[in-house]
């Protein structure tokens, strides 16, 4: 919503708390969805660092009750306009696992192409239109384009290469229509697939140029060692299969997220946080995947990663996630091209199946990190209960930890500048707040007095 412009405000401190300082960014910009940042410091001590969500809840877990697997695929797409395929495919794979459907290898490859297309468009959107302006000192990509038009056009071309895949396979890039339990409603002809080739060839070289471009950005100093969580697949880079692994050695099925992780509504918090059952939380997304599965990258992407300084600086500095995203974009483009080149249409677009009761669950890697779905299904194939854990709710504790670590370094700056730096840190996670199927509204009653902070 259009709120008061986001200029950070400092509450006029009451005399007895004169050393308190509050920085509030009422409406975070250049992220998907609606969030607010609030930090409180006393002297050098960080009292509170909180990313609040005021995205209105839409209750998706309730909306899928009574629906069939195919309907669920259409509905959960609407959780996020940026990564609908992540939601569609995770749901489809969960139902297929429960129904023990064998998916034709050619259909599996097409689905990977579909997902790489979404990665390409989502990463290009984030790198060029949302994130790069932070490093180059612009408020947005349109302003950036006034001085750096060729680069922004390259970004739009990369984004379109992903969109072209989504449109070819799914009819449209936002909420595509073809994915079904068991396969697709329609698959492309070889001729249609071949038409994607020129744009993808260009995307490969554009993505290489992107890695070099962003690796040259001046990064804020930031250093910490995060715990990491992602899929790891012995047959390829983390996407939709393999094992769910952490940097401390957890190794479980992507269907079993709930055996090791929980969602909590903390007493002093207004959001659901996902954490390990041991109370620890993990960093998800490109940084985690590059670190734990970088050996599975395409050689072209691995070479660019090494030339950009390798994975260690990326892992330790969240601002460098832009480089991780660029490397993954290159991997997505070159993998997509290989699938297009090897394409032979499957015998049937969709396997035949019948529903069976039980629990359908699966995880895949959305562009911004691990996504978990679970559906309880009755005899008729209708959902009776669901849980959807988007990447941003799993990353939220990491974001707040990083804010606490980073805060002391920006405290000497004026509030507006400090707020902008902190906002840039949050943006480095590519948070998708629209995806927050069940984040809560900020409890504005709990904010300290001083009406100016209370824009809701």
């Amino acid at each position: 919503m259009a709120r008061t412009p986001k200029t950070p405000k400092t509450r006029t401190p009451a005399p007895e708390t004169i050393i308190d300082r509050r920085i509030v960014v009422d409406s975070l910009s250049r992220i998907e969805g609606e969030g607010r940042l609030r930090v409180v410091v006393r002297g050098d001590e960080v009292v509170e660092a909180r990313l609040s969500i005021f995205e209105a809840p839409r209750f998706f877990e309730r909306l899928v009750v009574g629906r069939t697997g195919d309907e669920v695929i259409d509905i959960v797409a609407r959780i996020c306009g940026i990564c609908p395929v992540a939601y569609q495919l995770t749901a489809a794979m969960a139902f297929e696992r429960l129904y023990e459907i064998d998916i034709d290898p050619a259909v599996r490859e097409l689905r990977r192409l579909f997902y790489w297309g979404e990665w390409l468009q989502s990463h290009a959107l984030h790198i060029y239109l949302l994130h790069a302006p932070d490093f180059l000192g612009y408020p947005d990509a349109l302003t950036l384009a006034k001085d750096h038009r060729p680069e922004v056009e390259r970004g739009l071309a990369l984004k379109h290469a992903g969109v072209a895949i989504l449109e070819r396979l799914g009819g449209r890039a936002v909420h595509p229509v073809s994915l079904r339990v068991g396969g697709f409603s329609r698959v492309p002809t070889r001729l249609e697939m071949a038409a994607l080739r020129p744009e993808l060839e260009r995307a490969v070289s554009d993505a290489q140029a992107t890695v070099r471009w962003v690796a040259g950005f001046t990064m804020p100093d930031f250093d910490r060692e995060p715990l990491l969580l992602c899929l790891r697949d012995p047959n390829g880079y983390s996407l939709d299969d393999g094992r769910l692994v952490t940097s401390e050695g957890l190794d479980i099925s992507p269907a079993d997220w709930e055996s090791s992780f929980v969602e909590e509504q903390l007493i002093d918090s207004t959001a659901l946080y996902a954490r390990g059952i041991d109370g620890r939380h993990h960093l998800l997304g490109p940084t985690a995947r590059l670190t734990l599965a970088g050996d599975q990258l395409h050689p072209l992407a691995r070479a660019e990663l090494e030339a950009a300084g390798g994975v260690d600086p990326i892992r330790r500095n969240i601002f460098r996630s832009i480089t991780a995203r660029a490397v993954e974009m290159l991997h997505a483009a070159v993998s997509a091209l290989a699938i297009v080149d090897a394409y032979v249409p499957p015998d049937a677009p969709r396997a035949k199946w019948s529903p069976r009761p039980g629990r359908a669950s699966w995880s895949t890697e959305a562009p911004r990190g691990l996504l978990f779905h679970r559906y309880d299904v009755d005899e008729a194939g209708h959902v009776t209960a669901a849980r959807i854990v988007p990447p941003t709710s799993q990353n939220q504790a990491s974001i707040e930890d990083d804010l606490r670590i980073y805060l002391p370094r920006v405290l000497q700056l004026p509030d507006a500048e400090a707020g902008a730096r902190l906002e840039a840190l949050i943006r480095s996670y590519d948070p998708c707040i629209s995806c927050a199927t069940h984040f809560l509204e900020l409890d504005i009653e709990r904010l300290p007095a001083g009406g100016a902070d209370h824009v809701a």
């Binding site: 259009a2 910009s29 969805g33 209750f59 229509v177 409603s185």
Partner: protein, 276 residues
């Protein structure tokens, strides 16, 4: 529709309420044209894309999402007062979106079903279209909207003419494109005959029936289609299921759903007999 002063770039705001952000994305999806919009439009508020923010006034405000909290209901009225032309974009803003289906819940605490501490959540029991709260000057349908229709709207406004948006059913578009009819060929239920066009008859092109994401067209014969679905063997619950999608709260679809006991997951005993 009112005409706008075009001597200067129009001040445009893009805002959202309860939604997925996918319709805003259509603006970023117009490709390199995006970089040249500046000659005609000054985008002064677009939180998803820019750190420069403005609380108005706006010559044109594009509104995504439906109203699902008290704060949002207040906020849209406030925005209307600072806006010359207000255009709703997408199924959420024009008919409530998928989240509007919670309007059928009776005597159920949906919040408590999902959150351990439901008292923290301030939400309305309904999610309603923007036009139920303020006057809307124009709407773009679809879940999501079509980028081409958005460009047509912007072009028309910049030139001070009426936007040329197609006014026919998906079925008519599908026939004109020479597509195989999924009802005739595969026996697939299809909402094409009653749904507003704009998508290019996408679902039939992908071998499935239209699921109505552009919503009912004006004076659509919804009951006529329901009778046909019943003749093809669908009972009332299954017919309600077909209409209860992303535009299920649009009045014409809503009436057909309610007459058949409500959407899946929200059904009551009343109305089960219809079409049986």
């Amino acid at each position: 529709m009112a005409r706008l002063e075009t001597a200067r770039p129009l001040k445009v705001g893009v805002v959202k309420f309860a939604s997925c952000d996918g319709c805003q994305l259509a603006l970023l999806g117009v490709g390199p044209l995006l970089l040249d919009l500046g000659a005609y439009f000054e985008i002064v508020e677009f939180g998803e894309a820019s750190s420069n923010r403005s609380s108005g006034p706006y010559d044109l405000l594009l509104v995504e999402g439906s109203i699902s909290t008290i704060e949002q209901a207040h906020h849209i009225r406030d925005l209307r007062g600072r806006t010359t032309l207000l255009v709703t974009i997408g199924a959420c803003a024009t008919s409530g979106g998928i989240q509007a289906l919670r309007g059928w819940a009776t005597g159920e605490d949906i919040v408590a079903g999902i959150y351990p501490r439901p008292e923290e959540i301030a939400t309305l029991t309904t999610a309603t279209p923007i036009a139920e709260h303020v006057t809307v000057d124009a709407e773009l349908r679809g879940c999501p909207i079509d980028s081409g229709q958005l460009l047509e709207l912007l072009t028309a406004l910049s030139m001070g003419r009426r936007p040329q948006l197609p006014d026919e059913s998906v079925c008519a578009t599908c026939k004109r494109l020479g597509r195989v009819c999924v009802v005739v060929a595969y026996g697939e239920p299809c909402l094409g005959p009653v749904t507003q066009t704009g998508c290019g008859a996408l679902c039939p092109a992908y071998s499935r029936g239209c699921y109505g994401c552009f919503g009912p067209r004006e004076k659509a014969n919804v009951e006529g289609l329901a009778a046909d679905l019943a003749a093809r063997g669908l009972d009332g619950a299954e017919i309600a299921r077909r209409f209860a999608g992303f535009t299920g709260w649009a009045p014409d679809f809503r009436a057909a759903i309610t007459a058949r006991g409500g959407p899946p997951g929200f059904r009551t005993e009343a109305g089960h007999g219809k079409d049986a």
